[in-house]
Symmetry: C2
Subunit: 436 residues, 2 copies
């Protein structure tokens, strides 16, 4: 079901396959996605209705595009209180986390040298679009985590595109609880195109955030000459670092149970999900493999899990945890679990990862649902150069300076010399004229 | 030479033309740039030599691709001490500015609720590529400002691609003074492709920063499925907000002189540069126009300036400064000068701008050369959703969490309820198994 390798004996082709994972099949869908974008650009709302009818809901019409107050009321009426309460709890935890981020985003002003004052202020992006993927089930959690981050940033206009298929009551409740007033039923690449270029109904945005399938990711990448995006997010992935440490509280059998459960949880996201266990313990590797096969039997998404485990996943045995850490940094995983003796020590050596889960009581699922951290993360190695979605995603800096006359006089010779090197005499002149 | 409009009477087509500026002619060069990228991907170094021979230096050969110690020595030998000293001063000022930014980039850890500890740490991007444009003259200033930002971030590998045309002594000195050890002579879209995909000589990078012409910008956008970029940067632009305030130190004539000088300085960047003056004073508008025509006569890049002023530029008279401020926020300029009575008050109302220059003694040229602020800024309205290049550009966040057993027990019911809504039972199971 899942292959076991020894890192030292791994062939280059296996290593390359594991490192590459399932990301970046974007070229395969590029032409189709370009067609969708072109259709939305030229036909606007009509294209959205056309695609929704074709792929999501044969009964779709323009009247269904924008969510109404009646839709929201219907959602609350048809959703058990228990679920509504838990969505509210999720939002409350997410708000706590993102509030701390916001407090770290500091405006500043300082005198660099006498008469040269510089500063920066952070301002929210005015128009942001959130893409909430659909599927067999609704994903209210994605809605709330993105909305909380954007709201905490202070974005004045936040819109959501949710699946045009199904009722999505829980998504509507999550959006409403976060204060999102502008929600559209439009799925896939057409949602990205609509938010980027605008239609008669949907005014365009400046930035789009949110995960999606290959079509959505391709559309986000292809629309980047028009709008900013969070980061290209593809199939979800976890890398687990586990050593042979054991305790009375948690022996190796128990640890193997946890590892297996977490690998399976990641694998159920889809056939292209990626799970990797790195361990210096042959025993843990074997126990995890056995456990995985056992736990698998009880789960519902067997087909997805089986494909995911067989295709892009691996249990890898290393000579040492240092070797495992080096592999993890090369891999730059979306999710990284550290189930070792001193997880904090290993964290210090981690340079590239989206979200790191320390300790035995902290499966990725906790971050997905409850801890309040943001779980919209770069995948496919993009944690090498990008960050988790957060308050920063929805803000940007405005840099400023103020210079006194003596400050100008002090800096003038630099401009005179270097502007001459660069052949820009009007630049030099704009400084000199002020000192005449 | 430059058109004067009244904002109230401006036609939609004029307003649209001014708002659109010269940005985004990327579609026109797309096919050509895609060919260049494909050639670099398939032929590597050979493609770089081919393009350099064709466009930059008929004598180019592979031996010239990588800058050697001998090249660096030659640069110092052939550059006047005065210039070297001024480059060092630029670097020193830039280091002061970027050090303040670095001090604002804070790791944090906090207990969100009992037993739920969350935190974030910032880590540098491991491999970054700087693109230093060439032209009639070398641009050492671009080299130093990008290198200082990346070095301050702590990036372990920083490479520079400089023009394959000419000697570029000052650029080499700037790179060397900043501690950049890996420098290549490769211009244009081929440099971007080489840094994104790698060649035999140039190992690929994770992020590319730096301004360039339309080909370079197009290549950066087109390589975004492989690497991150700073922001799409096109032709340079300035918007000046000036009121009719005057003082004994600076009467309206003098202010008009400064406005004219700054508009001209921006215009000399190229035929596609964009300059806009917004003022509530008809008198200042007229005086600036007159001054501009007068000062123009003394400058060397007359042809560039004339085209830039005639095509994308304007002097716009508004009824009030509030109207001017609203226009400025819609415009989202790269550079914004505020030459008014209380520039700090107006700054508070500015939401979208790259770099803001307050006061009479602070032309954009000062920021370009001497203040130490970063002048690699988003253009073409991209300050709506992106920031100036800075230390943040070269770093990213790693998010982490630690949860105790009681913390896990507290969060478990949320996972149980919502994972069921979302149909992810292996997620639920991975939490429940830890509490059995």
């Amino acid at each position: 079901m899942i292959n076991v390798y020894e890192l030292q004996n791994m062939t280059k082709s296996v290593r390359d396959r594991i490192m590459k994972r399932s990301q970046n099949d974007i070229d395969q869908v590029k032409t189709k996605v370009e067609e969708i974008i072109a259709a939305v650009k030229s036909d606007g709302d009509a294209a959205l209705v056309h695609f929704a009818k074709k792929w999501d809901d044969p009964e779709f019409s323009l009247a269904k595009l924008k969510i109404t107050d009646t839709d929201i009321k219907e959602a609350y009426k048809n959703t058990p209180k228990e679920i509504i309460d838990k969505i509210k709890e999720q939002i409350s935890l997410a708000q706590k986390f993102h509030k701390i981020q916001k407090e770290r985003i500091l405006n500043w002003e300082q005198e660099l040298e006498e008469g040269i004052i510089v500063g920066e202020k952070w301002t929210p992006i005015a128009n942001v679009g959130l893409y909430i993927p659909g599927g067999k089930n609704p994903f209210p959690t994605v809605q709330q985590i993105l909305a909380v981050a954007a709201k905490t940033a202070g974005c004045p206009r936040i819109i959501s595109c949710i699946s045009a298929k199904g009722k999505n009551y829980e998504v509507l409740i999550a959006a409403n609880e976060c204060g999102i007033k502008e929600i559209y039923r439009v799925s896939g690449a057409q949602a990205i195109a609509a938010m980027a270029y605008g239609t008669e109904t949907i005014a365009p945005v400046d930035l789009i955030a949110g995960p999606g399938n290959t079509y959505v990711t391709a559309a986000k990448i292809l629309c980047q000459s028009k709008i900013a995006i969070d980061a290209p997010a593809g199939p979800s992935e976890v890398l687990i670092l586990a050593d042979n440490s054991a305790s009375p509280e948690c022996d190796l059998n128990k640890k193997a149970k946890y590892c297996a459960a977490d690998l399976l949880a990641q694998a159920e996201h889809g056939t292209d999900s990626v799970v990797v266990l790195l361990t210096d313990s042959k025993q843990l590797a074997q126990l995890t493999k056995d456990e995985l096969e056992k736990q698998f039997e009880k789960l519902s998404r067997k087909e997805d899990i089986q494909k995911s485990l067989a295709t892009y996943s691996a249990i890898i045995i290393t000579h040492s945890m240092n070797e495992a850490i080096a592999f993890a940094n090369d891999y730059a995983p979306e999710h990284l679990e550290i189930l070792t003796k001193n997880p904090e020590e290993i964290l210090k050596q981690i340079n590239h990862a989206g979200s790191v889960f320390l300790g035995l009581n902290n499966p990725v699922a906790l971050g997905d649902y409850a801890t309040g951290i943001n779980f919209c993360l770069p995948t496919g190695g993009w944690t090498r150069q990008s960050s988790p979605v957060g308050v920063w995603t929805f803000m940007k800096r405005v840099q400023y300076s103020f210079v006194t006359k003596p400050g100008l006089a002090r800096l003038c010779p630099i401009v005179q010399t270097i502007a001459t090197v660069e052949g820009l005499d009007a630049h030099r002149h704009s400084v000199e004229i002020r000192l005449e």
